[in-house]
Symmetry: C2
């Protein structure tokens, strides 16, 4: 149902005669009492991208009760581990053609325009690999804690999983999410503009527990280095304040089961509110130290080029941001009338407190409904009722978080950051609804 | 990692010499600096069920850096829709051998002992089919609203998905969950005792919205009938109070994506707090009426045989209940020492307010930690620190909900219900930890 949600249905409600027919057949106890509805549907079925070829109107096949209304279906445990419907094959993460040189050092984007609520299905979680992903044998994986500690320790997975754990819902966003938009590239869909964003229930051990077990010197040791086991040698500095807050987790669980291989199985760091690169995958080592390490991935990459030519470093927190996911770029409004404007808001500094929505490019704003529970450093779903009058419209959302920070316009963001950044673009997104109903990505000042 | 969590690791932490070796090699910049740890692991690897054959100690292979630390991994979008690690193949829903005559009218149980947090991965959601499952074409599916309404309506999926939606986390439990235990059958694992239980973020339209659109007579129409499109002709009566509360949803979304075929794709009813049979799958019709329908699935099935020989009917609410999932039946505690007792609690009457845990069969109780957010009619994860002294232990959990109701013992439940029921067993579960560390299902009075 990738674009279906904003399309006009092929047919409106059955007319009075159709309803009478359905009622009559239902009273006769006929099992095909919905055939009137099916007949109505068949006429417009070709408009639905993934529908089977539409039989011609009057085709005797569609006057039969569908097989599923009387037949014997599939058995339990058909495939061991369940999969989405074949009709949802179009809903998948996608690589942006030409964005990267190889598919191992690359990105796949989550299909935000097709998702509901706040949980991202693990099979659709965005990917960002620096040297490809691995399926590491957990019985051989180890986590070492060393550096400014009394006694360095090496943990097996079984040892880690015996310790007290916590489970928390958090978003993860790549620092480069929406990066193409700095250059006004205006990629067509919200999958590509904002799809390096996902949200899961993560389960693991607070890192502070492991540091305490190793006797970490928390007076001198004001930083930790997190190191991954894959060939990219991903290493990131994390300030000790974040660890001491208890929020940083050494996580093995994601959405109820073990992490997926693409997301760091069997162990990754969870650093709520901080850009994804610090959530080191295939985590194998934590070192306690007295200063930042200035590794390649925090000096050459993931830095912000400022207007004065300097690089801004260690800008890890993902600031407050939001995006409308329906209607959004690439979708089509098939007629005038009611639509539920729907989207996601998040902040690396805490809870989202308000989302305003504009349909006229920011002249007027209305407060959207926030879907609870609104959680700390977690996606929040918002919605607003809207009646489209068929004229061009400019849809925008603007989030505010509990620190009082308000998501900036492009003009405001560029005033501070210039135009030569890659990372940390949290500006207000604009979708243009054209008179034809087509929705396009545009940038307003 | 199905049983790994409560097993002792093959080796404890590296000794001082091992740590020195790791440190020395790390300083030399060697990429195989973890080989000490791998050597330590190899000796005990055979104890881990899913490990590859363990090389003999001193085998030159294990002195090599694992390929993943230097090699090029798998590319993004390897399979389109992601899957769990191959090392998790043992974590799957399972059919209870011999429980049902056919696999179409059957059950598969969720592997609760392997799950974390509260979200059930959709690929592991329990199944209960009355005539098998179907993958229904959503472009042809319709929902009819009729009966005591001004104007009967038939909705397409696109029409439903244009309406304002809500997303909410709720548990779903089959009324027959833990049914085998009435007969003291004591099936071995919590997958089979309690695994007809799952929890998801559901997205859909409140049913009351659709009734209002059809002009339902809410004065006379105090009940609705929900009817499924599959061959089992599942029909269930729902009291209008539940619908008027706004909690009953016509749902198409589950954990961020469309419902899975086994769970009713493209449309199912969500009736929070009520037994799963009323969450009608493949939902095709809602009829408004002035009295309960007394259909086959509410007169012959899903009734409780009471001690006086009468049948108790329409006992739909799933009362407050809990179960310890680790340690639980079939698992083995490999040594004395620290364990995190971990489990799930839920109530069809609202939020869980307290869970007490006993390790001595109910003589002494300690309050467990509840993992937030604690949500209405949703699973709540609890945990308690425990040090096992190696002697036999009887593990129990007892939940309380916001109505003040306390989960009963078997003695209390049988006092009211007798012993000839199938459905609605919410008694306290007991796991016996034997001196050998083996955990078994036992019933205490």
């Amino acid at each position: 149902m990738q674009t279906g949600r904003v399309r006009k249905a092929p047919e409106n409600f059955l007319d009075a005669a159709g309803i009478r027919q359905v009622n009559t057949e239902a009273k006769q106890g006929r099992r095909d009492f919905l055939r009137g509805a099916f007949a109505a549907a068949a006429a417009g079925a070709a408009a639905v991208a993934h529908a089977a070829p539409a039989p011609a109107e009057g085709d005797p096949d569609i006057l039969q009760a569908p097989e599923h209304t009387t037949g014997l279906g599939q058995p339990v445990v058909t495939d061991g581990y369940g999969k989405p419907s074949k009709y949802e094959a179009n809903v998948q993460r996608r690589q942006s053609p030409g964005l990267t040189q190889t598919r191992q050092a690359s990105v796949s984007f989550a299909p935000l325009q097709s998702l509901f609520g706040i949980v991202t299905p693990s099979g659709l979680h965005f990917e960002r690999h620096h040297q490809g992903w691995w399926d590491i044998d957990p019985s051989k994986h180890r986590l070492m804690v060393n550096g400014l500690v009394k006694a360095a320790k090496v943990f097996t997975m079984d040892e880690l999983m015996r310790l007290p754990s916590v489970s928390r819902f958090h978003f993860i966003e790549c620092g480069a999410n929406t990066g193409m938009e700095w250059g006004n590239v205006a990629v067509p869909t919200c999958q590509y503009t904002h799809g390096m964003l996902s949200c899961s229930e993560f389960t693991g051990v607070p890192l502070i527990t492991l540091l305490q077990m190793a006797g970490a010197d928390l007076k001198k040791g004001r930083f930790v280095l997190a190191e991954g086991a894959d060939g990219s040698s991903m290493t990131r500095t994390i300030p000790m304040e974040l660890v001491e807050s208890g929020q940083v987790l050494v996580a093995y669980g994601q959405n109820g089961e073990m992490l997926r291989p693409e997301n760091g199985y069997p162990l990754r760091l969870v650093v709520p509110g901080v850009q994804g690169v610090s959530w080191v995958k295939y985590l194998r080592r934590i070192e306690v130290g007295d200063q930042p390490w200035a590794t390649k991935d925090e000096t050459v990459h993931y830095v912000d080029l400022m207007p004065d030519g300097t690089h801004r470093q260690y800008t890890s927190i993902q600031e407050c941001k939001s995006v409308i996911t329906t209607p959004s770029g690439g979708q089509v409004l098939m007629d005038q009338g009611f639509y539920s404007i729907n989207g996601l808001a998040w902040s690396g500094r805490g809870k989202v407190t308000q989302v305003d929505v504009s349909t006229d490019g920011g002249r007027n704003w209305r407060a959207a409904r926030l879907q609870g529970p609104v959680m700390d450093k977690c996606l929040t779903r918002f919605s607003l009722d809207w009646t489209w009058d068929g004229k061009p419209a400019l849809l925008q959302s603007r989030a505010r978080d509990e620190s009082g920070y308000v998501q900036p316009s492009y003009r405001q963001l560029r005033g501070v950051r210039g135009t030569r950044s890659i990372y940390h673009n949290n500006a207000i997104q604009t979708w243009l609804v054209e008179e034809s109903g087509e929705v396009k990505n545009v940038q307003l000042g």
